[in-house]
Symmetry: C2
Subunit: 207 residues, 2 copies
């Protein structure tokens, strides 16, 4: 059986990547969202392993020391990280894992797991992006400026990503990512087992 894929999806705030990722998960029942480890307290309805694995600060630090994360970050007083074990278990079972994450985290993942499929989602135009962020209405002029400046800045660092997906519509963006998944499964470097199988069979058929 072929290993599953780790899909790492980033994109500027307002590019619509969350909507695209939710739709993708709906349409691909064998794909799982990556579950993060966090030091923050569980909210009332949150169950362990569902949206998060809850750990103490000490446990988290121990995982960092054991190099147990694909990426991790401190956000205010809490830590968040993507555990290797969960991702690698899923992949070994042939299941694809989706990790929606900002660029800094994606670049950490890339260093530790370059076999991942790195996808950057962009809006058709940057003025679209501006309108989408403004429409949310939740931004101050300063935070709007900062978000927009970040988005612009990130565009200069895209070479680490394998694919650029234009989110002209949710449907078309999802179709493109589904095509990327099919294509990646066909990539020569992901098919060493199949090649070996064919060669072994060939040797038998000869005999």
């Amino acid at each position: 059986m072929q290993d599953g894929l780790l899909l790492v999806v980033s994109g500027p705030s307002g590019a619509g990547k969350s909507t695209v990722c939710s739709r993708l998960l709906l349409e691909m029942p064998r794909m799982n969202l990556s579950v993060s480890v966090t030091t923050r307290c569980p909210r009332s309805a949150e169950k362990e392993g569902d949206s998060y694995f809850f750990r103490t600060h000490d446990q988290f630090e121990e995982m960092v020391e054991k190099d147990a994360f694909l990426e991790y970050a401190r956000v205010y007083d809490n830590c968040y990280g993507t555990p290797k074990e969960y991702v690698f278990d899923q992949i070994a079972q042939g299941k694809d894992v989706l990790l929606e994450i900002e660029m800094q985290g994606a670049l950490q993942v890339k260093r530790r797991f370059p076999q991942g499929v790195f996808i950057f989602v962009v809006p058709p135009t940057l003025s679209d992006l501006k309108h989408r962020i403004i429409k949310r209405g939740s931004e101050t002029p300063e935070s709007l400026m900062r978000r927009f400046s970040n988005a612009y800045h990130e565009l200069s660092y895209l070479d680490e990503y394998h694919y650029l997906v234009v989110n002209d519509s949710v449907e078309s963006a999802v179709e493109k990512i589904k095509a990327i998944i099919v294509a990646e499964r066909c990539r020569m470097d992901r098919n060493a087992k199949l090649r070996k199988k064919l060669l072994d069979e060939g040797a038998d058929t000869w005999a």
Copy 2:
């Protein structure tokens, strides 16, 4: 506008790649089959530029000297080659070009145009391949042995290809190649123009 893709499809004799390629051309009206230059004489119904460009031996040699071919070969007394000009013109118009060719030719193309998309089509098992070739009934035991030995030999040299497509059914092989086309169009290195457009727009939106 994005450049078209050059799809180079190889695979062992009997893997069904011709059927797959014909179906692909039917389903993708904007994709053209690459037209070869040949020194052989046109047959009665053959029109210049339709299935071949017909040239004299001298003209062919001149093209070789001018490095005008993506690949070329001598087969018995005649020469065949894939002219760069035709392929590059199509690609510049945003049209994809399909080149179905054996491994030696594909490797020549790869050296001259590594931006091509190199796909190797295989049967699900090598014994399938044996059965398909035998079913054709047109082979002597010796030629059968040679074909099969070639197929086996080629499996050891697949690293030059980007994709391995298992032809378990024509439909599924065509779907995989169509997904590869969609994915390749999203590849970061094929979207330099889009990235520049976004950056330029971003700079304007800032101002």
